[in-house]
Assembly symmetry: C2
Homo-oligomer: 114 residues x 2
DNA sequence: TCAATATGCAACAAAATAGTTGCATTTAAA
DNA sequence: TTTAAATGCAACTATTTTGTTGCATATTGA
């Protein structure tokens, strides 16, 4: 079919993984904490949470597996920082969807005005 | 602290539910099929899928629970159609995030240019 | 009315998730 | 060199998810 080069044209499968990674309140709040684009240690990210540090580590691994965060070992701590690419991709994906339904509405409008 | 009235200011918890609903390849493909904004029966939506109709029904229920689709019973069939509001909300949510990280980059830039 | 179509419902099983606890390892600091 | 801090790793449990099968119910059409 049509050829697209933008990152928004990734397979549905891939996008679903990113959606899934964001589909947990704990992980979404972790992403929110990382929005300052600065590296945060696991301990820092685990602060204030009700669940254990180990659980937080697992969530960070999930985010890392879909490329939403990257991990850098520095001294005795592991620093995580956000990678905006997958989020950008999702944004574009939703834009495409929005375009499609706007198109559907316009088609309907044209039809009704006929 | 700042007050926002847009639907993008919903709780993280709520957004996470929508992300989770989209975080499954089968469900995401169902949403794609519904993008024409027309009502589709369960059988129609199940066509071509490898999994059973009953499984599709469950996925549709998940989508319905987060408000992404609505169900209308017509005769002997159940018609599902897309509701774009939650998707719009997600889009705005991602836009806010994008704004935040752009801001972070600008702050960094200003700092470095100092 | 009878048969085919479209769903609904419920019980069940397998697999993935989310979280915990306990202990080992590595690094920084007193 | 001790101690405290930050993680890593593994085993284990509980819950949720995903999907199946079998059967019942409701509708449409010949």
């Amino acid at each position: 079919m049509s050829k697209r080069n933008s990152s928004a044209a990734l397979k549905t499968e891939q996008q679903a993984h990113v959606f899934a990674a964001l589909g947990d309140p704990t992980r979404l709040s972790l992403v929110a904490k990382l929005l300052d684009r600065k590296p945060h240690s696991i301990s820092t990210l685990a602060e204030g949470n009700k669940i254990t540090r180990q659980a937080i580590t697992k969530h960070l691994t999930v985010l890392e597996n879909v490329g939403l965060v990257s991990k850098i070992k520095e001294g005795r701590e592991s620093l995580y920082e956000l990678d905006p690419k997958p989020l950008k991709s999702l944004q574009e994906y939703l834009e495409i969807i929005a375009t499609q339904w706007d198109q559907a509405l316009n088609d309907l409008k044209s039809f009704l005005e006929d």
